[in-house]
Assembly symmetry: C2
Homo-oligomer: 110 residues x 2
């Protein structure tokens, strides 16, 4: 593995408000999805790719690097997995699942 930690700037961090940096990081293609797909355990990079509708490995790799840099992911024996911090973040998002079901209902009713 690389082992090298490249400094990776998160856009929006210039404001100094971490929430902005976080919103920016999460508001990139596949970020949320990656965290979501790892909710049940580690996945190899290829399995993760498959889980993410075969997203392009280029972007996926970028997101993985960024999320790893942010301290949300780590590369373990069985592939990529959430760090404790990453799990905390994911838990913040879990209510989203329920919400999405309610959302569909409301949309269907129109």
């Amino acid at each position: 593995m690389t082992g090298v930690t490249k400094p990776r700037r998160v856009r929006g961090s210039r404001t100094g408000r971490p929430i902005m940096a976080l919103l920016d990081l999460l508001g990139r293609r596949w970020s949320l999805r990656i965290l979501w797909e790892l909710r049940q355990g580690e996945l190899t990079s290829r399995a993760l790719r498959a889980a993410c509708d075969d997203a392009s490995p280029t972007v996926l790799q970028s997101r993985l690097d960024e999320l790893r840099d942010a301290g949300f992911l780590q590369l373990g024996g069985d592939g990529y997995g959430l760090t404790p911090l990453g799990r905390e973040l994911l838990e913040t998002f879990l209510p989203l699942h329920r919400f999405s079901e309610r959302w569909r209902k409301q949309v269907d009713e129109r």
Copy 2:
């Protein structure tokens, strides 16, 4: 105002899993930020633009249309605001603020 509701497809909705559609919608540039900036009340399109680091009006408008289509936003007398559903969604995200502070601490400690 337009008054016309154009059908707008959310990528990921093909899977039929609303959570995927939601993650995709929210995982676009400025989506999360827009919801966030509207947390305290309505903002005119220009005020919103200013709040979002002067993002390009083109994308912003796309996001506004999409979020409006999704039923999260509406255009009221004082500009754009969250619908009840949108507020529910935002509330799902509020813990993110706290998390982001904790996150910064952990990052700073490295």
